[in-house]
Amino acid sequence: MKHIYLSATPEALIASMLPPLEFGDYLSTGTKKQNRGQAIFFEVDLAQIEDLIDMESLNKRCVPHPDGKPKNSVYLSVYRVLEKIPLAALKSLYLTSDNGYTLELKKHTYDASKKTKNHLHLFQELLPVNPLVASDMTPSAFLKRLTDGSISIVLPKLFFVDLKLGGLAANPQKASAEYLPYINVGHLKDCLEVLTGDYEKHMKTVLRVFSGSILYRTIESGFYIGAKDEMYFYPFPTMAELEDTNYEFYRSI
């Protein structure tokens, strides 16, 4: 059985004989290479992308090892992958902790008319670019603005996650940032203050360089992916729900 995965950290299209949970463990803790680090990846519906990949090569390479062990990974592409994959081909999103426990997030269509809880947001873009951006736009407005060509920078698609801002989401001037784990919280506050001022600014880059991992506990609502008006949402459970539904993952983050 072949599985196709779209890895977000780093971007790659990978074929594997491992099912998602085992693939997550493999990606995060590795084998002989002793890799270490969290993994975020989608499972992709192979049937919908057959015309995009060299199936003959895939069928040759993605076969069990001589000793019968399943093939862990066959890298199919490591560049501009998201751009090519149709959004409809994306199945569940998987988050793996850096010690190998994986959480499945189901795909939902996003109701853009739904009001968000907070006025200010912190978005960690993951694909195809990955700055950390503060914004006063809703996730759908943010996605649309970056993908619809209304500004000079245009992305073909965007995959990002909404991170917690605590009290700063409502009042960046006065609320305490004490419990936020981000680097240089002072700068984050400055960025949020710019968004609430009279500058006609709706996005502000907080960090240009992505560390390569997300603190899962700081996820506010979940992950978003889409382009223009097509948007999908992968809601992240609350800690209480997570403790109840995936205890191993909960303990590992």
Partner: protein
Amino acid sequence: MISLPGASPFEIIAIWTILAIAFFGLAYAMFLRRQVMACDKGTEKMQDVWDGIRVGADAYLKRQLKTIVPLIAVFTVILFLSVYVVPPTDESKLRFAGYSDESLKLIIGIGRAMAFIMGSVFSLMVGQFGMRMAVQANVRVASASRRSFGEALKIAYRAGTITGMLTDGLGLLGGTLIFIIFGVASPDTLLGFGFGGTLLALFMRVGGGIYTKAADVGADLVGKVEAGLPEDDERNAAVIADLVGDNVGDCAGMAADIFESYEVTIVSTLILGVVLYTQTHQLSWIIFPLLVRGIGVLSSIIGTYLVKGNKNDKTNNALKSINKGFYSSAAISIAAFGVLSYFYLGDWRSFFSVVVGILLAVVLDEITKHFTDGTYRPVKEIAKNAKTGSATLLLKGLSYGFEVAVWQTIVIAVTIFSSIMIYHGQPIVYVLYGVAMTGIGMLTLTGNNVAMDAFGPIADNANGIGELSHLDKDARKIMDSLDATGNTTKAITKGVAIGSAVIAAVALFGSFITDVTKVQIQMGFDQTAQLLSTGIRISVPMVFIGLLIGGTIPFLFSSLTINAVTRAASQIVEEVRRQFRIPGIIERTVKPDYQRAVDICTVSAQRELVPLALIAVLSPILIGSFLGVEALGGFLAGVILSGQLLAVFMASSGGAWDNAKKTIEDGLYGGKGSEAHHAAVVGDTVGDPLKDTAGPALNPMIKVINLVSLLAAPVLIAYQKPGQTSIGMIVTGVICLAIIVGAIAYSKNGGFKKIPFEP
């Protein structure tokens, strides 16, 4: 058999009742053992994991026994012969009137040697049997957690109570038996009993502390930090050593440690009680403390039955239930002491001393909790400092560690002052007796305390077995909850252990002054030259030198134990890294060789026992030989003061760093993987050997030094006449110095073999 002039029928009955209670405590331990052993051990996979822990624990205990037994033999001979150096006391002559001098020496010599063996064997039994019981219980707790929280809690706590009852029963049995046989002559032999228990506790504490932290630090550094594996991951070659280490350190080491405090407070109280008995002819000075201990055993047993969880709960507040048992036992004890004081003593002074002791335990608990529990401000602040990196986190922890040492020492000072107030206007020996009674009170609930402590490794190991055998989520939640409670109970009992060690040491210090004076009277010293009259004058340069050197000993001890942990942890790191490179281990297709890591820890821990024991035993003799007996008193004061401060500092700062890390892991500042977490892991790793190796090892060390001083003081007085230089003493001092220097060199290098420098 009992030779107690002036004993009332009630007192004769009381003595036998106390003996019966001691046996009852032991029988209750056996009863609980049967209950625990009757529980099921779970699935084949669980038993497979457990078997690794059991084999590792057995290997450690066997090797420890091999190292210790020759030393017990040597010290038994020395203690037997000591009576030929310093003749038996006048009280011994009175107790065994009619015997010739030679027969008397033989009786006391054999008594002292046998008491030493009894103390050693009892301490060894508490540690070894308690640890074996904990190992037997952990798999059963893991199995019970698949059914209910209540059942798992009950098995874990009752298994811990077995060790608690052994501590109570054997401690009470030893002291009472010696008193029944030797009567007023018991101080001559009690020292042997105390020394045996304390020396063994030192071995178990040092060995256990080095083992547990070498395994823990080594396993964490490669497994969690370097390879990113979760706690108790089966691919980590040190995982079984880590689980064995929890038993070795927190169960065997701690149980033996509390046992010797329990034993030493009885020894010092009986020694001072006999002094008061000879002055007042009231036997209650001796009988009352033994009755207090007897009541403590019974109230601890009652408390056990109050520790239970709700059968239908998935998880419950285990700490609440354990506290309910503890405070109920305390209330029952206080009420019974009151009744006893009213009807038997007709005097409330001893009652007040005992109650002050119980209050001291409660206050020390609260101080420890305040500075080390994650729900209070200090740990929250330490965690907050993790946001700015490990340096600020470490500094904040150091700052709080120093502060706890101040408060705890002040509380102990107030406790001693309360004895002065309770016995206001009485000679100093009454005050010292009051301090000893405070120690008796403080350790009244030893059964509960040891049960709470042993509960920690049992719950921790059960959780490890659950993780390694992939138990279901509900069972894991129950074990996580029990494990978290165990961490708190362990921290609390550490505070009690340190506090009781200081109180016991102060009581022994009192015994030192009275014993030295007794020998000085026997030797015909003028009253003005007797230690009870002169006191220990730190204005005398020799005494001040003794004080200074005494203050350095806990630092030397801590340096050597931390060095040993560092060295052994490095070996574990290399071993785990080596095994990670073996194809198949990371993929889980090949099982790691767990035994290698177990062997490394076992060998490293045992290697340090002899040099550290030699330092503790010979340093007071060295000081006494060169500087005299009064300077030895100064030396003891220095050891007690710096030992107390350092032990509290290390235990508290280590505990606070540990809980700061746990607070962050619970989700604060981003949880696991955040920058704050990385800083907190550094703090926890630094704190581990402080709180679990060096700090706890100081408790028995302080008392070994005190007891050796008590044993050596008569010899020093006999062979060191004022104003004369004794060649024998100088030669003894030089030999001690040479051995101590050799022991330090051996310990620093991990043996006499030169280790090549590896950059």
